[in-house]
């Protein structure tokens, strides 16, 4: 499937941490022709086994988290406004006047309240999440009949094309990673492999990598690659802290990762002429790899990151070519495993 079309199915789907089923199902639907997948209601994970799974072979786990940042409803006022708490690292600079989806008994639309400039003395301070309300245009009674405390809320922004092969939308962190896994499985279709390939579309990464912990335990892989987004340079950033958009896979090197796997990916990229860049970290990675590496008796793990601008905003930007190139790298690497 065309990479942008995949993103158009994955990114708009609802998947705030703890309520990942809709997003997971969107991914499983696309994958269904390549193997068997299922959603686990206990953990919120979706696990997909590539066709031809064989117990005598070693297993490589490819992980990408399916959840996205958002909010949880904590209170409903008598006049129908919602108070919320953040789920994951919300960028408070993006809150005011944003459109949201509330996942109540039915999905409803809302906007985050803002005080109009005519009445605002201080428009230099970013509001706390505890200062905002969500307006769904409903009376208190209507709101309370559709929405319950604990319901999740996501930002809204379907993916759109920018110039070239760039795309902007919400939840590209980490539906882009899920897209990489889907493209990898597509590229490996009907290829005889020396290993089993299992995908973990993990839940609750944004709230503490819960899904990766339980998922890696259940799958017991022999090695793993965690695919997530990472910082792409943009104006105002420090170049030393970022990768570059459109320059290919950011292959992780870190004391907590398997250097053997990092080196193997790098040499695979070199051999095949696939673009890559380094992402050097000095300890934990802040990704699901942190959980997978220490699952059970330990798992050799590496991170591969998709460069992304404006992470944790509704206008995250990625490059479709990066997704395609990273999928190519993973498919080549897996194809070479014995």
């Amino acid at each position: 499937m065309d990479t942008f079309d995949i993103l158009c199915k994955l990114a708009p789907a609802f998947g705030v941490s703890g309520d990942e089923q809709e997003a997971a199902q969107a991914a499983l639907d696309i994958l269904s022709e390549y193997g068997e997948g299922s959603f686990d209601k206990t953990t919120g994970n979706a696990v997909f086994r590539r066709a031809g799974f064989d117990d005598s072979k070693k297993t490589i786990l490819l992980d990408a988290h399916i959840d996205e940042i958002g909010f949880v409803v904590t209170y409903i006022t008598d006049d129908g406004f919602l108070k919320v708490a953040p789920v994951g690292g919300i960028d408070r600079r993006t809150l005011l006047a944003s459109e949201v989806t509330v996942f109540g008994r039915q999905k409803i639309k809302g906007v985050i309240t803002s005080t109009p400039p005519h009445l605002e003395d201080d428009n230099k301070k970013v509001p706390e999440v505890s200062d905002i309300y969500i307006d769904c245009g409903l009376s208190g009674e209507q709101a309370k009949s559709i929405i319950s405390l604990g319901d999740k809320v996501s930002m809204v922004n379907e993916p759109v094309r920018l110039l070239g092969s760039r795309v902007s939308g919400k939840a590209l962190d980490d539906r882009s990673g899920v897209a990489v896994l889907i493209k990898t499985i597509e590229l490996l279709k009907d290829k005889p492999l020396g290993v089993n390939v299992v995908l973990l579309l993990s839940s609750q990464e944004e709230t503490g990598e819960m899904g990766a912990k339980t998922g890696a335990f259940d799958i017991s892989p022999d090695m793993a690659i965690a695919v997530d987004v990472s910082f792409a340079y943009t104006q105002g950033e420090d170049k030393e802290e970022c990768g570059e958009l459109s320059k290919g896979a950011m292959i992780g090197i870190s004391p907590s990762l398997s250097r053997e796997l990092s080196d193997a990916l790098i040499s695979c990229a070199k051999d095949k002429g696939i673009p890559y860049q380094y992402e050097i970290m000095n300890g934990r990675t802040g990704t699901n790899a942190d959980q997978i590496t220490i699952s059970k008796g330990g798992v050799k793990t590496v991170t591969v990151s998709i460069p992304e601008k404006y992470m944790h905003t509704p206008v995250e930007v990625i490059d479709l070519e990066d997704i395609d190139n990273i999928a190519r790298l993973l498919a080549e690497f897996i194809g070479g495993l014995k």
């Binding site: 005011l96 070239g164 902007s168 105002g236």
Partner: protein, 340 residues
């Protein structure tokens, strides 16, 4: 045509102050053949709708076509677009929003340094306009210049949605007024009436200044969207006006002391006809009445507004019932004004 459907059409058109052509073209396409009109040097539409009666006084009903937005001021070597606000926009509603740039309407996003790399004091501060930029996906100035030129207009990428009995969109200020006037023109008027669809309200009531001079009315009714701050964060006395409480008729705002007789008449009509009418509980905001009421030797002026939450943001919210109240009150007042 259904007034709400037409409001959607109008709100989806992009027309910041000084670049109202899309809105003007649509309005002309709708009034053609229903009234005489001309377009003045500033781009105002001045239309005369003939009624059954020709009164000895002149009434001008006015709404503005322009909306708040941005103008492209600079393109960086890296292809990022710098911009300035056109009209009063809180910079905090801009960061992280999607916009459409220039005549080609290319998508752009307003971004900046990522949250994870902000110093703790930066996290508390809104990003001011001079630090914001639009990213259209270009890497170089040359690439950006294929799609964008200095002076291009920028609008919020709109999503017009229904939320219960409320409507949410950009540009409700003042396409709501335009939609009401188009509905009045379609239904016909009892007395000859001037309808002016004016430009450049958001940068200082400039179109209405010229239009009021040209029309030289005795009475004016301004149809607008006004700030409703009926949100939990504001105290009762700071709410200005509230949704679902009807058309807003104010006694005073930051530009105008409204005509007392028209103010009273509006409330009388409301009572008689069962049209909900409310006033503003704060002296806040302002609209084209500020220019019209002091045109030439003075014009008796009234403003009828739809209460609107989150004005000047991409997510203005109004109630359908209030827009109907504005329509009903404007219709009645435009007749009764001649019996004063």
């Amino acid at each position: 045509m259904n007034m709400f459907k037409e409001l959607q059409t109008l709100c989806n058109l992009n027309g910041i102050s000084g670049d109202e052509k899309n809105v003007r073209d649509y309005i002309i396409s709708q009034i053609e053949g229903k009234c005489e009109y001309n377009v003045d040097p500033l781009g105002n539409i001045i239309a005369l709708c003939m009624g059954e009666k020709t009164p000895d006084k002149k009434l001008m009903i006015s709404a503005h076509m322009d909306e708040v937005g941005f103008i492209v001021t600079y393109i960086t070597d890296k292809g990022l677009i710098k911009f300035a606000p056109v009209g009063g926009i809180d910079p905090r509603v801009v960061f992280g929003k999607r916009v459409k740039v220039g005549e080609k309407g290319v998508y752009g996003v307003v971004g900046g340094k990522v949250l994870h790399h902000l110093e703790s004091d930066e996290k508390q501060k809104a990003v001011p306009f001079d630090k914001l930029y639009i990213d259209i996906g270009a890497d170089t100035k040359e690439q950006a210049e294929e799609y964008v030129s200095l002076g291009d207009s920028v609008c919020f990428d709109n999503s017009f949605i229904t939320m219960g009995d409320k409507l949410k969109s950009k540009a409700i200020d003042d396409r709501a007024g335009c939609a009401v006037m188009l509905d009045m023109i379609r239904h016909g008027v009892e007395y000859d009436t001037y309808f002016t669809f004016v430009v450049q309200e958001e940068i200082g009531l400039r179109g209405s200044t010229a239009a009021a001079y040209t029309v030289d009315p005795d009475y004016a009714i301004v149809l607008e969207a006004t700030t409703a701050a009926d949100i939990p964060a504001s105290e009762d006395d700071k709410r200005v006006c509230e949704l679902d409480k009807g058309a807003v008729v104010s006694f005073m705002d930051r530009h105008t002391m409204y005509d007392k007789a028209l103010y009273s008449l509006a409330f009388e009509i409301g009572k008689e006809k069962g049209i909900p009418v409310q006033t503003k509980t704060m002296v806040a905001g302002g609209n084209d009445a500020g220019a019209i009421h002091k045109s030439r030797g003075g014009v008796k002026t009234c403003a009828i507004s739809v209460p609107c939450r989150y004005l000047h943001s991409p997510s203005c919210v109004i109630s359908k019932s209030d827009l109907q109240s504005v329509r009903a009150l404007a219709g009645e007042l435009s007749k009764r004004i001649f019996q004063l």
